[in-house]
Amino acid sequence: MTGWPRFTGLRVRLAAAFTAVALLASVLASGISYVLMRRVMLQRAQDAVLTDVRNTLARQVPVEMPPDTEPLVGAALEKALGSAQGRKAVAVPVPLRRGESALPPPGALDAPVTREFARRAVYGGEVVFQRINAHGRPYLLVGARITGYRTTQNEPWRTTPPLVFVSASLGREAADLRLLTRALLIADAAALVVALGLALLATRGVLRPVRRLGTAARALGDGRLEARVHVRGRDELADLARTFNRTAEALERTVTELSAMEAASRRFVADVSHELRTPLTSMIAMTDLLAEEAGPAEGGTAARLVADETRRLGLLVEHLIEISRFDAGAAALVLDDVNVADAVNASLEARRWQDDVEVEGPADLFVRLDPRRFDVIVANLAGNALKHGGPPVSLAFGPPEPEGAGGVRVVVADRGPGLADDVIDVVFDRFVKAEAARSRSEGSGLGLSIARENALLHGGTLTAANGPEGGAVFTLWLPDGEEE
């Protein structure tokens, strides 16, 4: 469990999704409220200005004007409309004669009046307004012309009330909106933090059972078959936990049954072997005697055959007993300081193989190991090479390759056909024979298994490979036994 899987893990993804949804909702809500607030705020400001303009016009402009008083009325209107803070007003004569323009003098207002705006104000028949950004500041521009006045037919310009343009600053509304934006941003950030916290809490609650389940599954995988999960709640995870528990129970039951059966069969093999040993020992003695007595005569061949097979049977039984000891875990090391050269020679001489095997190695290498088991290993490797490989068989021993590694390395090589590819992996398995055709070979089929079990018991290794020039190469490494 390094840092990497945690960031792509279920918890992070769940928390991210949860947070994203919360953030989306929060942003959406604040966006909608912002838009609504802005609409209401601007509507109110606009309505205030428009109402003021209407009321002032209605109040200040008489139904019938005295001649040539348009500037007076205009000045009064400008004073009344332009007195509020942030507002400027300008009154312009209605263009009734050719060539007149309704545009106010530039600079009279805070926001520029476009020709189209003036045209709509004069001829549109309604009060017009427009929001304009001028010099980076928002303004409301209103243009209004009054109706309901009386004028004269032939000199209408003398008694027509003026047109007014009003610019009102929306700076306060803009400031309020900025404040609102900041408040909403802070609220969103707070919502994000809270959502993140809640998401982490919630996902922890959801994922704790998953983690427990994972731990239990790992324990089960490591061989602790009694691992169970505490089931809590009634959700899908609890269901899963229950299923896991049932599976683990079934597995434990099956494995227990299997191991009991295996133990029983091993015990059976061991018992049978033990029971066979005593009669076989006497049978070997008897058949040897019979073969000797028969001599090289006609009946002697059969007697020798019986003697050989009986001896082989005895060897098989011995090997079976040895293997069943390993299986029962009853095998123990009896360590001693051993001169490897002496031990190898003694082992070969005891089987009269000293002439068939070329031995090579330092004479003064001492290693602490179990001499009986080392003898078994050497004998089995050498015997295997002699029986199944081709001559010459060589046995080289020495200190292992990395200097100071301790222990001993023994390499047994032959010049036979070598090991087939499909055999290399299973050559140490029980009753594996390299040549299927030669099923009735002299070996028990257990020699290499026993050699390997002995090597493993020492804490060493035994590997099989093919040499570069053909032939099988078995490499044994035994560590220096620990001083007790």
Partner: protein, 175 residues
């Protein structure tokens, strides 16, 4: 195909961010109509202005303006309207006039009874004709509460440069 998706996603995110940013603040609008224009409702008493026809004063009424009680005097300098001209009326006052009350605490008749009338633009030495003086005096006296006119620019100027006139002095022109 592999490149397109992140690019599209990025474009989408950029568009969303742009929309969010552009949506902030106060946005300009086009020209929007805001309903019926207001109707003029201010009511004001009519004013009486003395114009001249064949050398005699003739009173005409004109609409007044709210908050401008002395508009009648100022209106003397305005050319007569079309209907007035059709009736043969004209005015002898050809200079803009300023009118204001002089507050005289010592005056036994009260502070507002005297109206000061000055031609606009300070030191003009042109004199009023008698008819013009009659127009000014009678028009001023038609304003409720005004009994005398303190007029600057009279022909028989005393050292103060003004003369007190009343409509009675021109009774031969009235009627």
């Amino acid at each position: 195909m592999i490149m397109r998706r992140p690019r599209r996603a990025r474009a989408l995110a950029a568009a969303a961010a742009y929309a969010a940013l552009a949506g902030c603040g106060i946005r300009p609008t086009g020209i929007i109509g805001a309903g019926e224009p207001p109707a003029a409702q201010a009511q004001s008493a009519t004013i009486t202005v003395y114009l001249v026809r064949d050398g005699r004063l003739q009173a005409v009424t004109r609409p007044g303006l709210p908050g401008r009680p002395y508009l009648a005097v100022e209106q003397l300098a305005v050319p007569p309207t079309g209907p007035e001209r059709a009736m043969g009326l004209r005015t002898e006052v050809h200079r803009q006039l300023d009118a204001y009350t002089l507050v005289e605490a010592s005056d036994p008749l009260g502070p507002r009874s005297q109206l000061a009338v000055r031609p606009t633009g300070a030191h003009q030495t042109k004199f009023w004709s008698r008819t013009a003086m009659a127009q000014i005096a009678c028009t001023a006296q038609a304003i409720p509460g005004i009994e005398r006119v303190n007029l600057r620019g009279t022909p028989d100027q005393d050292k103060n440069g003004w003369e007190m006139v009343t409509c009675d002095q021109f009774s031969d022109l009235v009627g």
